[in-house]
Structures are given as structure tokens and as C-alpha cells.
């Protein structure tokens, strides 16, 4: 297993700041934007979510830009367990996957039996991917073994479904803790590690993502395992999403530049990316009213 080690906050932020200054133009920009669309987990996680809302989101996920048939579909639609069956039906045959949050999302402050049952239910309802939360209470109290055991149990309950482990980095306080939680989640069997629930601020940031990417790289160098990464929350603009791709490209390389290894958890990002794609292709900005809100 990779060395826990330390993370220096100042230098980490300096490095991510430097990578964010990469200037991505023309063909490489278009290629990046296309990739971003394919990496999006289009997400709705509201108490007010209904089948109607999810239907609209699924339609958007499969065909993000009705005017441009060449626009790719997104990676997945991410919903609460109660809406999984509905999303699955809507997305049938499209290749767009159904992701469900589970394990007492967003706080994780429930008995582990309930959290495991929650994950199992999501899979039984048809989720291809489960986005679990770690128990930050246990983690911050230093009960790392317990956090590890919980992830292992959820991993088992998920069966073949893909497991993304949300660290909720905004609650962990230091990059050292983020690195430790990342290594712990990967050791326990995470397919992806994910920054945030989207319910806590700060959610995804460039430095915290870089910190997690470096942990993923260390696990890869030590064991050969290739764990995926999902920043979620707070990524609203195409320009930001390209900065994330630069981080991935220069930390992990081309093998991670795929929806199988990198996702964006976002909702409003998609339209900004579509708008930028149209701008790249036509040379003019169009009104946001030309892009559907779902």
C-alpha cells in the first residue's frame, strides 16, 4: 500500500494553480469539451425530485444537444435510490449508466446495517454505480479501521455495481486527511474516489482533486490498480472542467482520460460545455436560451 506521507498545502495549491493556467486552444479545446460531456454524471439530488424531473434529466443525458446530433451522451445519471428504477427505464439501451447515491447520503450518520441495506437496495433497484459516503464522524474521531470495514461491507453489498466512495473533503479539514481517506477508500475496494456530496461547501476544488489524483497515482505505482476519480460539486464552467482535465493529464496521464476513470459530478456544467462547443464550432456565442434546461 502507498505510503501515507504528508501533503504540503501551500505547494499543492501552487501546483494546481499552475496547472490551471494551461492554455487550451482550438482542436485540443474541442476535444477536451467533448470528453467532458462524456465524463459527466448528470446529477439531481433534491428532496423535490420526481419521476418527471428525472425523465427530463434522462432525455438530456442521452441527447444533450438536440440541435447537434454529434454531441455525445453523458456517462451517467445520478439520483437518489427511490428514482433509480425510473431512471433505469428511461435510459434503457442508451449506454448511459444509472448511478445512485446511498449509505445514508449525504451525512452517513446512520447505523451501518441501514447504510449497507441502502446500498443493496439501490443495486437491486437497478443502479449500475453506487456513490457511497464515508462516515466522517468515525474518520475524524480517528476510527480509521471502522471506516475501512464499512467501505468493505458496502463494497460486498454492491456486488458487480461500480463503487464510488465520497470522502466529503470539505469536512475533512486538511489535505493530509484527504490523502489518508483516499488511500483508505482505495484499500477497501473503491472503484472511484469522489470529493463531495455537493451538499457541503467547499465541494470539489482543484487542489483537493490534485491531492486525490496523486494518491491514485501512488496506488497505481505500488499495486498496478487503476482507481477512478470524480470531483463533484462546484464545477459549473467549461473552463473549470478543462483545468481538471489538465490536472488528470499531467498527473495520471492518458489512461485516465476516459469516462471509465474520470467523472464530473455536475448538473449546470453540461450546458456551459455545450455552449462552448457550439462557440468553438460556429465562432459565435449563442444565448443560453438555445440550450435546454432540464
Amino acid at each position: 500500500m502507498a505510503r501515507a506521507g504528508a501533503v504540503d498545502a501551500v505547494a499543492l495549491e501552487a501546483r494546481s494553480g499552475e496547472l490551471a493556467k494551461r492554455s487550451i486552444k482550438r482542436a485540443s479545446k474541442l476535444q477536451a469539451l467533448d470528453l467532458v460531456v462524456r465524463m459527466i454524471d448528470l446529477t439531481t439530488l433534491e428532496g423535490a425530485d420526481t419521476p418527471g424531473k428525472v425523465s427530463a434529466l434522462c432525455a438530456k443525458a442521452m441527447r444533450p444537444d438536440p440541435v447537434d446530433p454529434s454531441a455525445p451522451a453523458v456517462a451517467a445519471v445520478c439520483v437518489y435510490p427511490n428514482l433509480v428504477a425510473h431512471a433505469r427505464e428511461r435510459l434503457a439501451g442508451s449506454g448511459v449508466r444509472v448511478a445512485s447515491v446511498a449509505t445514508g447520503f449525504p451525512s452517513g450518520q446512520y447505523p451501518i446495517s441501514v447504510r449497507v441495506a441502502d446500498a443493496r437496495a439501490a443495486v437491486e433497484l437497478g443502479a449500475d454505480e453506487v456513490d457511497m459516503v464515508i462516515d466522517r464522524g468515525a474518520f475524524l474521531a480517528g476510527r480509521y479501521a471502522e471506516v475501512y470495514e464499512q467501505i468493505v461491507r458496502v463494497r460486498e453489498a454492491c456486488g458487480d455495481a461500480h463503487l464510488k466512495v465520497i470522502l466529503e473533503t470539505g469536512e475533512l479539514g486538511t489535505y493530509d486527511a484527504v490523502r489518508r481517506a483516499s488511500l483508505l477508500a482505495m484499500a477497501a475496494g473503491a472503484d472511484f474516489i469522489k470529493t463531495s456530496t455537493g451538499k457541503i461547501s467547499p465541494a470539489a476544488t482543484l487542489p483537493v482533486t490534485l491531492c486525490m489524483l496523486e494518491a491514485i497515482r501512488d496506488v497505481h505505482l505500488d499495486t498496478g490498480r487503476m482507481v477512478g476519480m470524480k470531483p463533484a460539486g462546484g464545477i459549473r464552467h467549461a473552463k473549470q472542467s478543462i483545468q481538471y482535465l489538465c490536472l488528470v493529464n499531467e498527473t495520471l496521464g492518458r489512461e485516465w482520460l476516459t469516462p471509465e476513470r474520470f467523472r464530473f459530478g455536475a448538473s449546470s456544467l453540461l450546458n456551459d460545455v455545450l455552449m462552448q462547443i457550439r462557440t468553438q464550432k460556429t465562432g459565435v456565442y449563442e444565448s443560453p436560451d438555445h440550450f435546454t434546461i432540464d
Binding site: R3, G5, A6, V7, D8, V10, A11, L12, A14, R15, K21, R22, S23, I24, K25, R26, A27, S28, K29, Q31, A32, L35, H162, D191, E214, L221, L245, N249, E250, G253, R254, E255, W256, L257, T258, E260, R261
Partner: protein, 488 residues
């Protein structure tokens, strides 16, 4: 997981060229000398071209200043001195503020000029050289009318004419390091820019005009080494400030022996970047990269020796090599370039010669695969492992993108090896343990010790060397002292 493994495994994503436009800079075909506020032709009648090291294309012709030209420049500076030194200190501050503001306003133009003439990546000239140059003028503008408070009861007085000779690695920034404190302390200046990088200094002459700096306060005489030599020999100078090689520094000191001309020398270095096993590894790797590949390693305080604790040497060097493969070497004007061109043919030859000596002495060379442009002067980022303390690459300043890696076992051994050099300009310490940082800093014989960072500069922080790295400090209150005499 099986299904996943069969999916396509990512795509190559190449960054399209993103060149900064050079339209913003208009070089004249020829630049004369800047003396007494006027552009004058050299008495020598000689000119020489300055090249872009990235393409070997001539950018402009500049004057080869001779002894006569130097004498005129010193005379002009002498003429301007009484008024400049006796005027209201707040008025000097006003000019320095003006210059700082103009540098900011013209920063894109000056950054492009710096990258064209010197070969450094635009992201460095844009984000480091220019902001720092402006910061030095702002900082010293603040001191101009507060010298009595900087040195209470010592009655600080201006020296007179400062002869300043600057290197080619940070042309405009070194100009700022020299000119700003000199002017703030009421001195006038004759500046000799480096032979291979005179253009931003000549653009600075225009900045002085724009700021309506009184004629003769700053004079700029371009030329080769002989021009600098003439300047140091010239009667009527009251101070010499030099940044450059130890060899030339020694020659200057010999020349000044027996003359009452105070001088400060900022010379070479062979800094140790010392990484302990508890350090934040990825950030240490970044610091090592920044320490030696920043500005192609053309940095006197570059972290050219990596001393790494043996227990983490293997993973650290593996990560370092991996990181090197992501460095983008090429067109200095491309915004994504990390490592630009070597400043001159002569410097490239020197780097090649020292690298060959490292291989011959038995060090193991690593260079990441990278396509270097056909024209121009280029050298790939290079790491030597298995380096012994006795190898030339561990002792001599290479002044290029070449790192020598050595190991140590204990803090005492790290100190011993770090100090075992003729130089003593800077050092870096990487550890999570605060007490160890202080323990190391007390024992390192270096003018600057960085902790968990490297190559950070601030006008408020004094910079200078121990041993053959020279003497005197630049920046901060200490830096002012070099441009004053004290009657109190």
C-alpha cells in the same frame, strides 16, 4: 471490472500551440546607448546583433560601448547626482512609483521581449520576472523617504554614481534589483546589461523617459565583457554592484583593490535541496523541479544538488523522473512551455561539456524523451543519479537544467555535504518537522534557506551569498545599506 478493462483506455490529448503574440513588441533595428537621457551612437562605432536563442534569429543591433562611452555615461551620472541626491526624498519615491506603474502597464510587452531575447518561457517572464521587477520598484519607492528610519541615528548618505553590471538570466529583474535601491538611496546609475540580453534594459530606457526621470539619473551602456571592465576601471564611480559569475566577480575585486569603491558581488551557487524522509513527497518533487528547471536552470540560487535521505531516495527519484516527462520543452512564447531555450551558444557548450564530464566520471544520466526544436539552443531536462561528492557535476556550477542527485543518512551528514562546496548562496530543506527546519537553517552556510519551498523571492527579503557566492545583500533593509554611507 472485466467489462471495464475491455473498454478503450483513454485518449492522447495534445495541447494545441498557444503562442503569446509578439506583435505587442516593436524592436528598433538598432539601439544606441542611453546617456544623459538621450539615445547616443557609440563613440566606438561598433554594433553587434542580439539573437533570439530559440531561433537564432537576430532581433536588433545594439551598441558596443567602449571606454569613451563609459566615461560619458559616468560623467552624465555625476552631473545628475547633486540634484538627485539632494532633492526631496519623497520626489525620488514619486519617480520610483511611476516606474513601477509603467512596468506594470507595459508588462506584457516587456515579458514578450524578455522571452524573445533570453529564451525563457513566457509564463515565467509574465508571472515571475515582470511582477517581481515592478514589486522591487514599489518596495524601494516606499523606502526612499524613510531611510532615516531604516538606519536610526546613523545619518545615511547617498554614495554617488553606482556602476551596475547585471547578468543574462533575469535581465529586467536584475536591473530592478540594482536600479531600484540605488535610486531610492539617492544615487545615480550607470548600468551595463548582459551582452546576450540587452533589449529589456533598452526598453527600460524608454520607461525612464516615460516616467520623466531627470536626464542622467539612469544611464545604460550596452556591450560585452570589455564594456563592463571599462566601467569598473572608470574614475568617478562610487560603488560597484555586480551579479554574475564567480570568475568575473574575482576579476572585479582585483580591479577594485586599493580603490575606495565599495562593492557588492552576487556570484555563483551550487545549492543543495535537502529532502528528508518525512517530507511531503509530491510537493518536494515540485520544489526540486522548480529549483533546477525553472528558467532552464539559469539561476544562481538553483537547487542544482539534490540531497535526499537514502530511505526515500528510490520512490522520490522515480516520481521525479515521471514528473520530468511532463515538462514541456520548446517555444518560449508558448504559454504552455515549462522549459525554454538555453540563453546562448556559449552556455549550451558549457552545459554539454559538464554533462559529458558527469557521464565520463560514472554518474547515471536520465533525460525524458522530448523533441527539441532543430534551430536554436536547447538542452533537455537532465537528472544525474549515482553522483559522488567529488564529481565535477557535484562541485561546479552548471547553470543549466541539470540536477545531481546524492543521498544522505542523517541530518548531520546532510549538513556536511550541503556545506561542502565553494559556494553558499541558497539551500532548501524539505521536512514536516519544524524543529528540524530550524536546526538545519542554523547550520547551513547559505544566504537564503528555503523551507518546504524553493526559488521564492520577495523585495523585502535580503538575498546574497556566503563564501564564493559573494557578499552584500540585495533586497530588504539590508539591501539599502549597500547603497549608503553612514556619517552617524
Amino acid at each position: 471490472m472485466d467489462e471495464l478493462e475491455q473498454r478503450p483506455q483513454g485518449t492522447d490529448w495534445l495541447y494545441a500551440p498557444a503562442p503569446e503574440s509578439r506583435e505587442i513588441v516593436h524592436f528598433q533595428e538598432r539601439y544606441g546607448l542611453f546617456i544623459g537621457g538621450e539615445t547616443v551612437e557609440p563613440r566606438s562605432g561598433e554594433w553587434f546583433p542580439t539573437l533570439s536563442p530559440a531561433s537564432e534569429e537576430p532581433l536588433a543591433e545594439v551598441a558596443q560601448g567602449g571606454a569613451d562611452d563609459v566615461a560619458l555615461a559616468v560623467e552624465a551620472a555625476r552631473g545628475a547626482f547633486p540634484e538627485w541626491s539632494s532633492g526631496k526624498p519623497a520626489s525620488r519615491a514619486k519617480y520610483l512609483f511611476r516606474i513601477a506603474r509603467i512596468l506594470q502597464e507595459r508588462s506584457r510587452e516587456l515579458a514578450v521581449a524578455e522571452s524573445l531575447d533570453g529564451g525563457k518561457p513566457i509564463k515565467e517572464s509574465r508571472d515571475v520576472d515582470l511582477p517581481l521587477a515592478a514589486a522591487h520598484f514599489f518596495y524601494h519607492a516606499g523606502w526612499a523617504d524613510k531611510l532615516e528610519y531604516a538606519f536610526p541615528n546613523r545619518r545615511p548618505q547617498s554614495l554617488g554614481v553606482a556602476a551596475q553590471i547585471i547578468p543574462w538570466n533575469f535581465p529586467l529583474l536584475m536591473l530592478a534589483w540594482k536600479v531600484a535601491p540605488a535610486l531610492a538611496c539617492g544615487n545615480t546609475v550607470v548600468l551595463k546589461p548582459a551582452e546576450t540580453t540587452p533589449l529589456t534594459a533598452l526598453l527600460f530606457a524608454d520607461v525612464c523617459r516615460q516616467a520623466e526621470l531627470p536626464p542622467g539619473t539612469v544611464n545604460i551602456v550596452t556591450g560585452d565583457g570589455s564594456t563592463g571592465e571599462a566601467l569598473v576601471r572608470q574614475e568617478g564611480i562610487d560603488k560597484v554592484a555586480f551579479t554574475g559569475s564567480t570568475e568575473v566577480g574575482k576579476a572585479i575585486q582585483r580591479e577594485l583593490a586599493g580603490r575606495a569603491v565599495p562593492h557588492t558581488l552576487e556570484l555563483g551557487g551550487k545549492a543543495a535541496n535537502i529532502v528528508f524522509d518525512d517530507a511531503a513527497i509530491d510537493q518536494a518533487v515540485e520544489g526540486i523541479v522548480n529549483g533546477i528547471y525553472f528558467n532552464q536552470g539559469h539561476v544562481c540560487c538553483a537547487g542544482s544538488r539534490l540531497l535526499v535521505q537514502e530511505s526515500i531516495a528510490e520512490p522520490l527519484v522515480a516520481r521525479l523522473k515521471r514528473r520530468l516527462s511532463t515538462l514541456r520543452v520548446g517555444d518560449p512564447l508558448d504559454k504552455n512551455t515549462d522549459v525554454g531555450a538555453i540563453n546562448s551558444r556559449a552556455q549550451l557548450d558549457r552545459i554539454r561539456e559538464l554533462v559529458a564530464s558527469g557521464e565520463a566520471e560514472g554518474a547515471e544520466l536520465y533525460q525524458p524523451p522530448c523533441d527539441l526544436p532543430e534551430r536554436g539552443y536547447w538542452f533537455p531536462p537532465t537528472v544525474f543519479t549515482n553522483v559522488a561528492q567529488s564529481f565535477r557535476i557535484a562541485q561546479e556550477e552548471i547553470f543549466g537544467p541539470v540536477l545531481s542527485v546524492m543521498t544522505f543518512r542523517t541530518p548531520s551528514e546532510a549538513i556536511e555535504k550541503a556545506n561542502n562546496t565553494a559556494y553558499g548562496l541558497s539551500a532548501g530543506v524539505w521536512t514536516e518537522k519544524g524543529s528540524r527546519i530550524l536546526w538545519m537553517a542554523e547550520r547551513l552556510r547559505a544566504g537564503v534557506v528555503w523551507a518546504n519551498t524553493f526559488n521564492r523571492f520577495d523585495p523585502a527579503s535580503p538575498f546574497g551569498g556566503y563564501k564564493e557566492s559573494g557578499f552584500g545583500r540585495e533586497g530588504g533593509r539590508h539591501g539599502l545599506e549597500a547603497y549608503l554611507r553612514f556619517d552617524g
